[in-house]
Symmetry: C2
Subunit: 441 residues, 2 copies
């Protein structure tokens, strides 16, 4: 499996019908499209940008192959001349973007594509699909990581992710924002993420006796984690203690895992039993229906849990499974463009985000025109030129992870809370941008 998805037909049909119209009308001028979200979903004080690497990998290798063109011919809407244009299509445009792992807020462009309008248009569906979902996933995982206050978080969500791509991208996004690993082996292979996991209930069930299952597993994996809740959790812990007492020195179990019941109470009793048995080195992993709220509650209750396996609710971002992302035309043929149909304001022209710092924390952002010189650090930087990645578009996942860590460290304390805070992070619009919007209204 190649690391990047590059299927040109992963696009909404209207991208191609519009593209043919641009072609027929000889509209070949450069267009600038910007990707941003309009508002934070409920329960969110910030988002963490992700998905850029997949966008750039796609743009680098995108082409319509013969079977794509054959299929499009059957649709009956496309001329031979246009299909020939698609056969020759290669993305040779410019991309500017905020680095993956950057904390972002509403109305801030995360990414801008500048290319002949046909080229910038046909990539819309995939660009939104990846940046929307990966940003959603990174933002949810960042909340879980923050809630864990330095205890390990691992992604256990692959089975309940929305398909295979989502499972892989959540594993990557969670690692990006500080998770310790994932259960998904393919994510480990593709992204170099640590992979974790030992046993499920089925292994215990397949043996006639739980103690015998523990013994057999520990013999093969002397430093493993044993799952103790298949029948009765504390009885399972007793069997683990018994196993450690009878075993030779090779068995030095790493942990037990609790996957059901009152996790705080069971963790306390398990910890006491293990400590009393002189097994203070055995750690406690908790899993089963966890999300950032439950992780925070367990931590606040003082539950002696060393690591959290987080699955379903993180992997589908259950409390905010979509964000209002849009990829909008802001300039065509050198002229700023807007759209005024509703209360959704679209600021015209190419923009930049300027972020100010105070006492080591983010203090406020201003969105201005990209050629303005405003107070603060500009967030968008060139990542692709003429279809080729620039160094800033070729960041390793490890470096992106370090960047995300710094970003989360710089988040104002109030925004790190799990509940929404008012008034939230200050994002202002530059006076020049406001004037240019009024000019077009």
């Amino acid at each position: 499996m190649s690391r990047y998805f590059t299927e040109a037909l992963f696009t909404d049909l209207y991208e191609l019908t519009m593209a043919q119209a641009y072609h027929a009308e000889a509209m070949n001028e450069p267009a600038a499209f910007e990707l941003y979200f309009r508002s934070l979903p409920e329960h969110r004080n910030f988002m963490v940008a992700a998905g850029l690497d997949d966008v750039l990998g796609y743009l680098e290798d995108l082409q319509f192959d013969q079977s794509d063109l054959d299929y499009l011919r059957t649709v009956g809407e496309f001329s031979d001349a246009f299909l020939q244009r698609l056969a020759e299509f290669r993305f040779r445009g410019q991309v500017e973007a905020v680095p993956e792992g950057t904390v972002v807020f509403p109305n801030e462009p995360l990414l801008r594509v500048v290319a002949p309008i046909l080229d910038a248009q046909v990539v819309e569906t995939f660009v939104i699909n990846q940046v929307h979902f990966q940003t959603l996933a990174a933002s949810k995982a960042a909340r879980v990581v923050l809630a864990a206050h330095g205890r390990k978080v691992v992604d256990f969500g692959s089975r309940r992710a929305h398909g295979t791509d989502a499972a892989l991208k959540v594993a990557r996004a969670a690692w990006l924002v500080g998770a310790a690993g994932t259960s998904n082996v393919l994510a480990g292979k593709l992204y170099g993420i640590p992979i974790v996991g030992t046993m499920a209930h089925s292994y215990i069930q397949a043996h006639d006796d739980e103690a015998e299952a523990f013994r057999a597993f520990a013999e093969l994996y002397p430093q493993t984690t044993l799952l103790v809740d298949t029948y009765d959790t504390l009885e399972g812990v007793r069997k683990v203690i018994d196993l450690c007492r009878r075993s030779d020195e090779d068995v030095r179990l790493r942990a037990v895992r609790l996957d059901s019941g009152d996790l705080a109470e069971l963790a306390r009793r398990t910890r006491a039993m293990l400590d009393e048995a002189g097994l203070g080195h055995i750690r406690i992993v908790a899993s089963g229906g966890l999300d950032e709220y439950k992780v925070a509650a367990l931590r606040e209750a003082g539950a002696p849990i060393d690591a959290f396996g987080v699955g379903t609710k993180m992997v589908v971002a259950a409390d905010a499974p979509h964000v209002d992302f849009a990829y909008k035309l802001v300039e065509y043929a050198g002229e700023p463009r807007t759209k005024l149909s509703t209360k959704k304001v679209l600021y015209p022209g190419r923009k930049q985000v300027f972020r100010r710092m105070a006492h080591g924390k983010f203090a406020g952002d201003t969105v201005g025109r990209d050629d303005e010189s405003l107070d603060g650090q500009p967030l968008l930087e060139p990542v692709m030129r003429d279809g080729w990645r620039l160094p800033a578009g070729n960041i390793s996942l490890a470096d992106a992870r370090e960047h995300a860590r710094e970003q989360l460290d710089r988040l104002p304390e109030a925004l790190r809370r799990l509940d929404e805070v008012a008034p939230g992070y200050p994002v202002s619009i530059s006076p020049r941008l406001e004037r240019e919007l009024r000019k077009l209204s």
Copy 2:
């Protein structure tokens, strides 16, 4: 792109560590795993099974290639003997399942895998991932289709789906349960689904003048749908009417699309304007933030909308983005198995679902042992034998769609409501199954 995903490493690490343990312990006996969900998510009265075709396609071609084995070697947990066993791995087991498009309820097995325990175990993650998500998606889409009462529903959700796989599978699942098409071109190519779509706001914005954009587009596509809400919706409709009056007879537009604002009111005013202009043949398509509740409200308000483009909320199943699906060991080496740790009951042994009919509608189900003869039609049927698909595992999507239509027709009226109804559909457990559970407790 091949139609089926067959990456063997798309699995949780623990499937492989358990597999190595089964191998080391010479546990080669057949195991039966059943896939089911424990309870309906909120707002649901039924679910529609989907995902079987992808499971069977995966099982047919699954293998660990050299790069997979090389990666697993780097993990440091796997012996050469076990890696050799994986190199030779081919799935040669049996699968029984309910056909795609079948209406299903809690505690009813949707699918059973019977194979040597190693083989049945390593496929768990993918099997749950696909059946969980596709069933979720089909069930959500079925609600939208029911809410539309025969008006067209099309899937516009690719950009907000959770990754590429989710977008494709939602397009397929929506079509399965009666949607009229999808905007996703690749889904059209892969699954033979009708694809739809014409223009976005960016096309209008890229032109200096909306009327000019309409004219240029209609010249190229004389039977197209024009998007009228980029600036002012009713002004947009006036421009469409004007275009039709000035154009020669070639232009016979199919529809206008409303994508924002008060859709019911705008649809009424648009309909009146079009009718008054003698353009009664031009239909009205609505989109923008729709789900089954909004579709039902628009229909109940008598809004003259002919087709609904449904995106984000359907594609992420926003009100129920996960279901409590499990793939559980129910038999090993001929012995029924259960698991008793929590209030989650697992009925032991291989099961069948028997569905009774009354007056052409589903009247009640009984879950029994697979060798029981109970009243009603058995739902699970053999779909794969020794790793090869049987005819019942090789149903065309068109036939599955027809099956789904019949199933939805047979749903009791009360269950077709959008809100949860009590007491819900009756599913009972056979006395024999209850006895066998007690025996193991």
